[in-house]
Amino acid sequence: MPLPQLTEESVVIGAKAEDWRAAVREAGAALTRSGATLPAYAEEMVRMIDEHGPYVVIAPGLALAHARPGPAVLANGLAVVTLATPVNFGHPHNDPVSVILGLAVADAEAHLASVAELANIFNDEGAIPALAAADSVEEVQRIMGVQL
Protein backbone atom coordinates (compact mmCIF):
# COMPACT_ATOMS: atom_id res chain seq x y z
CA MET A 1 0.00 0.00 0.00
CA PRO A 2 1.48 3.37 -0.98
CA LEU A 3 1.48 6.44 1.24
CA PRO A 4 -1.75 8.43 1.38
CA GLN A 5 -1.71 10.97 -1.40
CA LEU A 6 0.30 14.08 -0.70
CA THR A 7 -1.77 16.66 -2.53
CA GLU A 8 -1.05 20.37 -2.91
CA GLU A 9 -3.57 21.13 -0.15
CA SER A 10 -1.72 18.91 2.30
CA VAL A 11 1.67 20.64 1.99
CA VAL A 12 2.52 23.90 3.76
CA ILE A 13 5.92 25.54 3.22
CA GLY A 14 7.44 27.93 5.76
CA ALA A 15 4.50 28.05 8.16
CA LYS A 16 4.78 30.49 11.04
CA ALA A 17 4.07 28.67 14.27
CA GLU A 18 4.89 30.18 17.64
CA ASP A 19 5.03 26.84 19.46
CA TRP A 20 4.63 23.10 18.93
CA ARG A 21 0.88 23.24 19.41
CA ALA A 22 0.49 25.76 16.62
CA ALA A 23 2.78 23.65 14.43
CA VAL A 24 0.71 20.50 15.03
CA ARG A 25 -2.50 22.45 14.35
CA GLU A 26 -1.05 23.55 10.99
CA ALA A 27 -0.62 19.88 10.11
CA GLY A 28 -4.19 19.24 11.28
CA ALA A 29 -5.52 22.06 9.12
CA ALA A 30 -3.66 20.66 6.11
CA LEU A 31 -5.18 17.20 6.70
CA THR A 32 -8.63 18.80 6.88
CA ARG A 33 -8.06 20.80 3.67
CA SER A 34 -7.08 17.60 1.89
CA GLY A 35 -10.35 15.97 2.98
CA ALA A 36 -8.75 13.36 5.25
CA THR A 37 -9.97 14.60 8.63
CA LEU A 38 -12.48 16.74 10.46
CA PRO A 39 -11.03 19.83 12.21
CA ALA A 40 -11.30 18.04 15.57
CA TYR A 41 -8.45 15.71 14.58
CA ALA A 42 -5.91 18.53 15.09
CA GLU A 43 -6.81 18.75 18.78
CA GLU A 44 -6.64 14.96 19.08
CA MET A 45 -3.06 15.10 17.81
CA VAL A 46 -2.22 17.86 20.32
CA ARG A 47 -3.83 15.81 23.09
CA MET A 48 -1.70 12.75 22.27
CA ILE A 49 1.42 14.83 22.91
CA ASP A 50 -0.05 16.45 26.04
CA GLU A 51 -0.81 12.98 27.33
CA HIS A 52 2.31 11.06 26.35
CA GLY A 53 5.01 13.68 25.90
CA PRO A 54 7.12 14.67 22.90
CA TYR A 55 7.77 11.10 21.70
CA VAL A 56 6.34 12.04 18.27
CA VAL A 57 9.66 13.77 17.58
CA ILE A 58 11.00 10.52 16.20
CA ALA A 59 14.14 11.84 14.51
CA PRO A 60 16.24 15.02 14.68
CA GLY A 61 14.08 17.87 13.38
CA LEU A 62 11.03 15.74 12.54
CA ALA A 63 7.71 15.23 14.34
CA LEU A 64 5.22 12.58 13.25
CA ALA A 65 1.96 14.01 14.57
CA HIS A 66 -0.95 11.59 14.67
CA ALA A 67 -3.87 10.40 16.76
CA ARG A 68 -5.89 7.22 16.76
CA PRO A 69 -8.31 6.15 14.08
CA GLY A 70 -11.77 7.45 14.97
CA PRO A 71 -14.75 9.48 13.84
CA ALA A 72 -12.57 12.53 13.05
CA VAL A 73 -10.73 10.51 10.37
CA LEU A 74 -12.58 10.45 7.05
CA ALA A 75 -9.84 8.83 4.95
CA ASN A 76 -6.15 7.99 5.15
CA GLY A 77 -4.19 11.20 4.89
CA LEU A 78 -0.70 12.63 5.04
CA ALA A 79 0.37 16.25 5.44
CA VAL A 80 3.79 17.89 5.41
CA VAL A 81 4.35 21.24 7.14
CA THR A 82 7.72 22.97 7.15
CA LEU A 83 8.27 25.78 9.63
CA ALA A 84 9.76 29.21 8.99
CA THR A 85 11.26 29.05 12.48
CA PRO A 86 11.83 25.67 14.18
CA VAL A 87 9.95 24.99 17.43
CA ASN A 88 10.86 22.91 20.48
CA PHE A 89 8.68 20.01 21.60
CA GLY A 90 10.71 19.35 24.74
CA HIS A 91 12.38 16.24 23.30
CA PRO A 92 15.71 15.38 24.96
CA HIS A 93 17.57 14.68 21.69
CA ASN A 94 15.64 15.61 18.57
CA ASP A 95 14.64 19.27 19.10
CA PRO A 96 14.32 21.74 17.42
CA VAL A 97 11.71 20.58 14.92
CA SER A 98 11.36 22.11 11.49
CA VAL A 99 9.27 19.46 9.70
CA ILE A 100 5.88 18.17 10.90
CA LEU A 101 4.31 15.14 9.27
CA GLY A 102 0.59 14.83 9.96
CA LEU A 103 -0.73 11.29 9.65
CA ALA A 104 -4.34 10.15 9.73
CA VAL A 105 -5.27 6.51 9.30
CA ALA A 106 -8.79 5.18 9.05
CA ASP A 107 -7.77 1.61 9.85
CA ALA A 108 -4.78 0.83 12.05
CA GLU A 109 -4.14 -2.64 10.60
CA ALA A 110 -4.22 -1.58 6.98
CA HIS A 111 -1.81 1.28 7.26
CA LEU A 112 1.37 -0.56 8.29
CA ALA A 113 2.50 -0.87 4.70
CA SER A 114 2.14 2.85 4.14
CA VAL A 115 4.19 3.55 7.24
CA ALA A 116 6.85 1.28 5.76
CA GLU A 117 6.95 3.75 2.87
CA LEU A 118 7.72 6.55 5.35
CA ALA A 119 10.59 4.47 6.68
CA ASN A 120 11.90 4.07 3.13
CA ILE A 121 11.91 7.82 2.59
CA PHE A 122 13.43 8.82 5.92
CA ASN A 123 16.02 6.07 6.26
CA ASP A 124 17.87 8.41 3.90
CA GLU A 125 19.30 10.82 6.45
CA GLY A 126 19.29 13.66 3.91
CA ALA A 127 15.49 13.62 3.63
CA ILE A 128 14.66 15.74 6.70
CA PRO A 129 17.13 18.58 5.94
CA ALA A 130 15.98 18.50 2.30
CA LEU A 131 12.34 18.86 3.35
CA ALA A 132 13.19 21.65 5.79
CA ALA A 133 14.97 23.53 3.00
CA ALA A 134 12.38 22.88 0.26
CA ASP A 135 10.85 26.06 -1.12
CA SER A 136 8.09 24.65 -3.29
CA VAL A 137 5.26 22.18 -2.91
CA GLU A 138 6.62 20.22 -5.88
CA GLU A 139 9.99 19.83 -4.20
CA VAL A 140 8.33 18.46 -1.05
CA GLN A 141 6.26 16.07 -3.15
CA ARG A 142 9.37 14.89 -4.99
CA ILE A 143 11.26 14.21 -1.73
CA MET A 144 8.20 12.35 -0.45
CA GLY A 145 8.25 10.13 -3.51
CA VAL A 146 5.20 11.53 -5.28
CA GLN A 147 5.27 10.89 -9.03
CA LEU A 148 4.77 14.32 -10.58
Partner: protein
Protein backbone atom coordinates in the same frame (compact mmCIF):
# COMPACT_ATOMS: atom_id res chain seq x y z
CA UNK B 1 11.59 -14.44 19.91
CA UNK B 2 9.11 -11.66 20.39
CA UNK B 3 9.79 -7.93 20.22
CA UNK B 4 7.17 -5.25 20.90
CA UNK B 5 7.37 -1.64 19.70
CA UNK B 6 5.36 0.73 21.90
CA UNK B 7 4.05 4.24 21.30
CA UNK B 8 1.08 6.35 22.35
CA UNK B 9 -1.41 5.29 19.71
CA UNK B 10 0.22 2.16 18.34
CA UNK B 11 -0.10 3.39 14.77
CA UNK B 12 2.59 5.97 14.03
CA UNK B 13 5.99 5.84 15.62
CA UNK B 14 5.67 2.23 16.83
CA UNK B 15 4.79 1.15 13.29
CA UNK B 16 7.96 2.83 11.99
CA UNK B 17 9.98 1.14 14.74
CA UNK B 18 8.47 -2.21 13.77
CA UNK B 19 9.37 -1.80 10.10
CA UNK B 20 12.93 -0.70 10.81
CA UNK B 21 13.47 -3.32 13.52
CA UNK B 22 12.38 -6.05 11.10
CA UNK B 23 14.90 -4.79 8.56
CA UNK B 24 17.72 -4.70 11.11
CA UNK B 25 16.86 -8.17 12.45
CA UNK B 26 16.89 -9.57 8.92
CA UNK B 27 20.32 -8.05 8.43
CA UNK B 28 21.50 -9.59 11.71
CA UNK B 29 20.01 -12.94 10.70
CA UNK B 30 17.76 -13.03 13.77
CA UNK B 31 14.28 -14.43 13.52
CA UNK B 32 11.78 -12.50 15.58
CA UNK B 33 8.16 -11.51 15.61
CA UNK B 34 7.87 -7.72 15.92
CA UNK B 35 4.52 -6.25 17.01
CA UNK B 36 3.49 -2.57 17.19
CA UNK B 37 1.19 -1.68 20.06
CA UNK B 38 -0.04 1.28 22.08
CA UNK B 39 1.05 2.00 25.63
CA UNK B 40 -2.39 1.07 27.01
CA UNK B 41 -2.02 -2.53 25.87
CA UNK B 42 1.64 -3.04 26.81
CA UNK B 43 0.96 -5.30 29.78
CA UNK B 44 -1.02 -7.79 27.69
CA UNK B 45 0.98 -7.56 24.47
CA UNK B 46 4.41 -7.67 26.06
CA UNK B 47 3.98 -10.41 28.67
CA UNK B 48 6.04 -12.88 26.61
CA UNK B 49 8.28 -10.37 24.85
CA UNK B 50 12.08 -10.43 25.19
CA UNK B 51 12.54 -6.84 24.09
CA UNK B 52 10.41 -3.70 24.19
CA UNK B 53 11.40 -0.90 21.80
CA UNK B 54 10.14 2.56 22.73
CA UNK B 55 10.86 6.22 23.48
CA UNK B 56 12.14 7.51 26.80
CA UNK B 57 8.69 8.95 27.63
CA UNK B 58 7.11 5.53 27.94
CA UNK B 59 9.65 3.76 30.15
CA UNK B 60 7.88 4.64 33.41
CA UNK B 61 4.45 3.82 32.02
CA UNK B 62 5.55 0.38 30.84
CA UNK B 63 6.13 -0.55 34.47
CA UNK B 64 7.27 -3.98 35.61
CA UNK B 65 8.42 -6.29 32.86
CA UNK B 66 10.82 -9.14 32.28
CA UNK B 67 11.64 -7.76 28.85
CA UNK B 68 14.69 -5.62 28.11
CA UNK B 69 13.49 -2.07 27.48
CA UNK B 70 15.43 -0.48 24.62
CA UNK B 71 15.04 3.29 24.26
CA UNK B 72 15.37 4.56 20.69
CA UNK B 73 16.20 8.20 19.96
CA UNK B 74 16.23 8.39 16.16
CA UNK B 75 13.61 6.03 14.73
CA UNK B 76 15.08 6.24 11.25
CA UNK B 77 18.66 5.49 12.24
CA UNK B 78 19.19 1.84 11.34
CA UNK B 79 22.64 1.87 12.97
CA UNK B 80 21.28 2.99 16.33
CA UNK B 81 18.65 0.24 16.17
CA UNK B 82 21.22 -2.35 15.15
CA UNK B 83 23.67 -1.49 17.94
CA UNK B 84 20.97 -1.40 20.63
CA UNK B 85 19.21 -4.56 19.44
CA UNK B 86 22.48 -6.47 19.25
CA UNK B 87 23.30 -5.36 22.78
CA UNK B 88 19.88 -6.40 24.11
CA UNK B 89 19.86 -9.76 22.34
CA UNK B 90 23.55 -10.58 22.75
Amino acid sequence: MKIVAICGAGIGSSAILKVNAERVLARLGIEADVTAADIASVQTVATDAQVILTSAEFVDAIGKTFADIVVIENYFDANELMVKLEEALG
